[in-house]
């Protein structure tokens, strides 16, 4: 009798499962446009997580399926894409697109509908909306976590005046607003402060303006295309002998293809990063090896230091929350994530009340000794000398900026 009921039980569960279908996770990811190079690498990491989870039998006995659309880094497209994901594709769970600019427009939407959203490397995008089911995965939380290291390095080199150059987009403006306050508190005098429209391509005039103001510290907050153009402009016309350190918040100088193409023009720049070789999070090196093999095939960023581990970690957090709560209910998952510390390949993650990391781990590093057209040089520690935070520090800053560039 027991065997028959067991057989029936199994049969029914199998039928039930077969009818339940996969768990659908939906997102948009910039695969073209300003953040495209980073987005492609991030997406690959998420797909790796989906494969790993399905190989282990899925979640709650169901397979996981990821639907990702290309939002072209265009904030005007994301509301439409997420509405489609929810109303047409009927996904169960959401992940935010990589980056502040594509994420900002969907914050009101998820708050209105009471949905859990896992943030993806955005900066302070929940500041005005204050959604309580938002959990951002990035090593920073507020402006201070980002700019403290940079400003301290500048002051150590003797800097007293500061110049700000920021893109007029959500990310750069959030960071610039915070950084300006901090600079004032640190006693620095602002001698130049300019915003430029996103996707500007010619920075020669702006660099000239900066040079004329003779600042000690130049804090730049830019998106990838502009970061490249700014580095090239600095290389071409120079930013002046007064500058002690240059950089700080330039997105894109962490993407391997960009690092390779800029080569020696990167030298001397002090910029933020999330991971450089030598930092030992448990599990990350094994992940990077596996990632590298897949990335070569898929023709995306083969080193994958910046975004892929963090995107894989988003998957890991969903995995832990779903397995612990045995549900897909957004409120229960949000409660779990809010209250628990989760183990991931980028270290343990715990969230603060604003949905950002409670303990930031932003790295500020200076490029040194970089040569042209060589991607493998970045695999070794030493090309990015860590100046901050103290627990990962590998060297002191070389100033002034033009001297550090070897010019």
């Amino acid at each position: 009798m027991k065997l028959v009921s067991l057989a029936f039980g199994l049969l029914f569960s199998a039928l039930a499962l077969a009818q339940q279908g996969p768990i659908k996770i939906g997102m948009s990811m910039p695969q073209t446009g300003a953040l495209g190079a980073g987005g492609k690498a991030a997406l690959l990491a998420l797909q790796m997580w989906v494969e790993d989870v399905n190989a282990k039998g899925g979640l709650l006995g169901r397979k996981v399926e990821l639907t990702a659309y290309d939002d072209q880094t265009n904030p005007a497209l994301t509301p439409g894409i997420y509405t489609k994901l929810l109303d047409v594709d009927k996904v169960d769970l959401l992940i935010a697109p990589y980056g502040t600019v594509p994420t900002a427009p969907i914050m009101p939407l998820v708050k209105q509908r009471g949905l859990l959203l896992m943030g993806n490397f955005s900066f302070q995008v929940n500041r005005t909306v204050k959604h309580d089911m938002w959990f951002n995965n990035s090593p920073w939380n507020d402006a201070s976590s980002w700019s403290d290291g940079f400003i301290q390095a500048g002051q150590k080199a003797g800097g007293k005046t500061i110049a700000f150059l920021a893109a007029d987009n959500e990310f750069a403006q959030n960071l610039a607003n915070g950084a300006r306050e901090l600079a004032k508190k640190a006693g620095l005098q602002t001698v130049y402060n300019q915003n430029y429209p996103p996707n500007s391509t010619d920075f020669s005039s702006l660099i000239r303006g900066i040079r004329a103001a003779k600042p000690d510290i130049v804090f730049v907050m830019s998106y990838p295309g502009e970061s490249v153009a700014i580095v090239r402009a600095v290389n071409e016309i120079g930013v002046g002998d007064s500058v002690k350190i240059f950089g700080g918040g330039m997105v894109g100088l962490q993407f391997t293809p960009i690092m390779e193409s800029l080569g020696s023009s990167l030298n001397g720049i002090v910029n933020y990063n999330s991971y450089v070789p030598g930092i030992n999070y448990p599990g990350i090196e094994e992940f990077l090896k596996r990632y590298s093999a897949k990335a070569l095939e898929a023709k995306v960023d083969p080193l994958g230091f910046y975004l892929p581990p963090f995107n894989y970690a988003i998957g890991q957090m969903y995995e832990q929350a779903i397995n612990a709560t045995r549900s897909l209910d957004h409120k229960r998952l949000a409660d779990y994530i809010r209250k628990n510390e989760m183990k991931t390949i980028v270290g343990p993650i715990r969230y603060g009340p604003d949905g950002e990391w409670a303990n930031p781990r932003v790295v500020q590093a200076q490029f040194r000794g970089v040569v042209d057209k060589n991607m493998d040089q970045f695999r070794q520690p030493g090309k990015q000398v860590v100046l901050f935070p103290p627990e990962y520090k590998t060297g002191d800053v070389i100033a002034p900026f033009e001297k550090a560039r070897g010019k």
């Binding site: 072209q72 265009n74 904030p75 005007a76 497209l77 509301p79 439409g80 509405t83 489609k84 109303d87 047409v88 900002a104 427009p105 914050m107 009101p108 939407l109 708050k111 209105q112 005005t128 909306v129 007029d168 987009n169 959500e170 403006q173 915003n195 429209p197 996103p198």
Partner: protein, 311 residues
Amino acid sequence: MKFWASLVVVLALVVAAAFTVKNEFVFYAGYTVLLYVVLATAWNILGGYAGYVNFGTPAFFGLGAYTGAVLYKAFALPLGLQIAAAALMSGLLGLFAGALTLRLRGIFFAIATIALVVIMETAFINWRYAGGATGLQLLRPPPTAPFESYIKMLFVVMAAMALGAVALARYIQDSWIGRGLRAIRDSEEAAECSGVPTLRLKVFACTVSGALMGAAGAPMPMYLQYIEPSSTFNLNYAVGALASPMIGGTGHWLGPVIGALLLSSLQQYVTVTISNEMNVLVVGVLLVVFVVAAPEGILGLAKKVGARWKR
């Protein structure tokens, strides 16, 4: 009487749909289709009746959208007042810009309208309170009863606006204003010699056209819950507003409606099934084909077919 009766019937159908159809995405896409009906009808008043082809739609639409957004941010103004204020602002823009530029002919006027769009966009990029180039996130209020979903409410609002625009266009077309505009289109010199007050009529058409486009723009920030300059002042609005009447037929108020319903629905379909870029390609190709091969638009083709049938 038949006209007004059909308007009421259409509105009733729309409201009924809003309370019966469940899938929200239909209304989300349908809103855009109705938006283009309004924009196309408004464009046709100056571009079709008077023959002054222009690319200025984004300037009026965008100003209307930002008026709504800023008033909502500052005073939490309800949607109805936002629409009224937007119509006023864009109407004024139409009045002033029209008075300045409508002395120019043909291509010069068209290029001047592009200049207007870029200048408006640049102005809003530099206005921090309205979000600058970064943009503004807006949390919309709950929908007014009896509606349960804000998107469905916006859909009905836009349908009402479309019907209103059509009624206005029809009125202008059949009145002495319409006759004057047609005279300008056929030969401006002859019209002036006959004593038609050409500049005043053109400025009037520009004002009305602008006001309608502004009104159509006001719900946009509530629809997206986000507004930023480059997508709001995008020349793609100019394309849709211009292509729909050119495809549907510019002489009659029905032309822009047919053109917008067909073109915009096709665009929505292509965007969802293929890609966002393809839909712009579809518009470009259709525009070129119709402008070259069927200058009278679909209405013109229908007339020719009808004439042949009668034989």
